[in-house]
Amino acid sequence: MTAETFVADRSSTRELATWIAARRELFAWWAGSRALVLGVALLGHFTRYPHGYFGRHAYAWRHAFGILGAWDGTWYRRIAQHGYLLVPGRQSDPAFFPLWPVILRLAHGLGISYLAAAIVLANACFLGAILVVDALGRRWLPAADARRAAVLLAVFPLGAVFSMAYPESLVLLLLAGATLAALDDRWLLAAACAGGAALARPEGVLVALPLAAVAWRRRRRGAALGAVLAPVAALVSFPLYLGQVLHDPGAWGRAEKAWGRSFRWDGVYRAFDTVPAMLRHNAWLTRDVVFFVVYLALLAVAYRAGVSRGWIAAGAGMVLLPLASGSLLSDGRFGLLAIPVYWGLAVAARDRRVHGVLLAVSLVLLAGVTLTIPSLFP
């Protein structure tokens, strides 16, 4: 090693240490909130309480963190193991997008179990997402607001999902990463992130809106326009793939129908019309109704605070578009990807006391949401 490379190495190590030190608060909140989620999941494993919908010998009880691999996590694992198969008239796996199971299968190829791979990757991606959301927020808001938003994201009550075997943390990272890359004029990276987001969750395609806003404002074409259209290209690849392997490009829509979701022109009306009946059937669903209202209010706060209109539109789409399927069910989870919600929350919590109360309440609710996973799917 020459003296120059030695000095350069020392300097880059010092830079990394400084970079980490500047974000110590975010690392701490990520570690703390994830320890809470994993700890409560472990407690659920040992006590098997509440039992919820899980049978005595359910897969979820067999592993220490099994409840984090439950519900949709089971379907993603099945796709990773066996690929797609549409079973007509029944709930089947083409309803789930492919990037997450693709990654799980690659990780499993390294000798890691599907559940372990999913939980490690989900939590690692969530750390990345918190850091990128913090950096992204600084482009529109004061640094203190951006930091507060990232901290509130770390403890967000429904954020237990970010530790589950679900693709949400990956998508959040890719959505934020795509926008940050676009703002830095790194359009190829933005295209890759945006494509990945749309291949992991259908809401990912909405990242095209903030990317289009950046490209329009900076009068960029070529690669920038390519990045705007990249999520659409990735999204289209899924039905093409299903057409190739299942001989049915419409398998996603057919599978969604079996899951009780079919997009109709009067879907939004039906979603609200069915709320009283839904609540009579299962009072837990109040949660999705409450979060739907909270999300819309926080998007309005973020808009007033000066957050990019492209991102406000994308966030509103993430909260509102699932309603077109005729149900508010799981809208609380779908809205987790609406990043401006966290910026709105941070602006609303500028008062130190409000911020403190929000943190405390969020942590209690985060533990509660984790504990009730067997009773209520996210």
Binding site: P101, L246, H247
Partner: protein, 206 residues
């Protein structure tokens, strides 16, 4: 980089990632899923079935809501009417048989009779169970009642079902069932459910 090239690269990479990584369904699974699709389109089947060692009987099976305990509370299931007057009802947690008593009836005979009649809901459930468990499905070409067919071998928990489907449309037309102590063959047509038939069936299950 040109817009079109970047979009094409992202689309191709996304497709390639799925194609290169995820396992594909087997031909047997795809054929079974197609057969299940036919079965979900119909709520009635009519045909002829024969338990091995017995005479052939006409069969008519419908899928609907039935009152299995005479309480008036309806449960979803399949009801079968055979040429000798026997009626079999299978709802979620109940299997009932009405009709002339038969000597030394094997335990699984009523269930096998339902399967041989091509009861759409019941057969679809059997296929679903095999697909959900990702059990292997044997596939080969053969002929049944002088018609070329594709045979699908489905191993359920209780029995082995050979489902015969037409090669072109994959519509199920016949079935052979081998269960413990009882086996048989049935050929059937999936037919639309007409008004009045459900009422007639329900009257047979007071």
């Amino acid at each position: 980089m040109p817009t079109a090239l970047l979009v094409a690269v992202i689309g191709a990479a996304a497709w390639g990632l799925q194609a290169a990584t995820l396992p594909r369904p087997t031909r047997g699974q795809l054929l079974a899923a197609d057969a299940a699709r036919w079965l979900t389109l119909y709520r009635r089947s009519a045909g002829v079935e024969r338990l091995d060692g017995r005479r052939a009987l006409r069969s008519s099976c419908i899928q609907g809501w039935f009152p299995p305990y005479g309480t008036g509370q309806l449960e979803h299931g399949s009801a079968l009417e055979l040429g000798d007057g026997e009626r079999v009802l299978a709802v979620e947690h109940h299997l009932g048989v009405l009709g002339p008593p038969r000597m030394s009836e094997p335990r699984f005979a009523p269930l096998v009779e339902l399967e041989l009649a091509g009861c759409p809901h019941l057969l679809a459930m059997r296929i679903d169970a095999v697909l959900a468990a990702h059990r292997g499905i044997g596939v080969w070409r053969t002929s049944v009642l002088a018609r070329p067919v594709v045979a699908l071998s489905l191993h359920t928990r209780l029995s082995e079902i050979l489902l015969y489907v037409t090669p072109r449309t994959r519509e199920p037309i016949a079935v052979r069932v081998n269960a413990p102590g009882v086996s048989g063959f049935g050929s059937f047509r999936l037919v639309p459910l007409r008004e009045g038939i459900v009422d007639r069936f329900q009257q047979g299950f007071p």
